[in-house]
Symmetry: C2
């Protein structure tokens, strides 16, 4: 029981903290963690479609579309009607987006990634494992 409480409260606190960081980033005009992830995914995969992105991130296509709108507004990606399939949207990085993805990739700009620096070195692997386990657990409830 007490364990469950500790666990639930820790989860809530983490969710709050992560949200706070995302908001701070957005306010500062920086790339938010969500945007950073999207950017990186596009950088890895080259060009991809909105729905592919949504699938990879595990979110609704409409959400992906809106996230992309934000990145487009920020001039980091460009959307173009799909050349193969006119229903699709090809999402590509702009030069600025490429630079942003690169600095995110190096961890320097990713607010979430740099949190790891604050975790004692010896604990890092354990923490990452725990988080990934948690992701699996959460996916099971889908």
């Amino acid at each position: 029981m007490a364990d469950q409480d500790r666990f639930a409260r820790a989860l809530l606190a983490v969710a709050r903290g992560l949200g706070r960081i995302a908001r701070e980033r957005a306010r500062a005009g920086d790339v938010t963690p969500q945007q950073a992830e999207t950017l990186q995914l596009i950088a890895e995969r080259g060009a991809l479609s909105t729905s592919t992105l949504a699938t990879l991130l595990g979110i609704d296509p409409s959400t992906a579309s809106r996230n992309l709108s934000g990145l487009e507004r920020a001039g980091l990606i460009a959307r173009q009607k799909g050349s193969d399939d006119g229903r699709q949207t090809d999402v590509r990085l702009t030069p600025r987006g490429r630079r942003a993805a690169q600095s995110v990739g190096s961890g320097a700009t990713s607010a979430f990634a740099s949190l790891l620096d604050r975790v004692p070195r010896g604990e890092r692997a354990r923490v990452i494992d725990a988080m990934e386990l948690l992701v699996k657990v959460l996916d099971q409830t889908r």
Copy 2:
């Protein structure tokens, strides 16, 4: 580098999963995890004021006020002008709120707490420790 990426993505995935659960709960008319936490805190402390609650949860008083409005609408808490200090608001559980807090306390109703059941028994302590460490790290960035 790769560690940072794994870490950042896991955090994002966790945040998304937790948000999803909260929304599902809300949609079903159940107590959301945030509400559950608030309820429990009130149950533990007896009556408390809005700002005390905000401090305990680490959120803005305005946010706490709105959260309480939701609980009040749901008939789980009652707000009353403070008897000692008229500026404050005494928040108390209603009978229904007390019952809700109890079932939350037992873990049966807390969506987040029950996630722990899905974590392999041998990993639970590790996961909780990792999450609490993460909370500390996040607090440092405040």
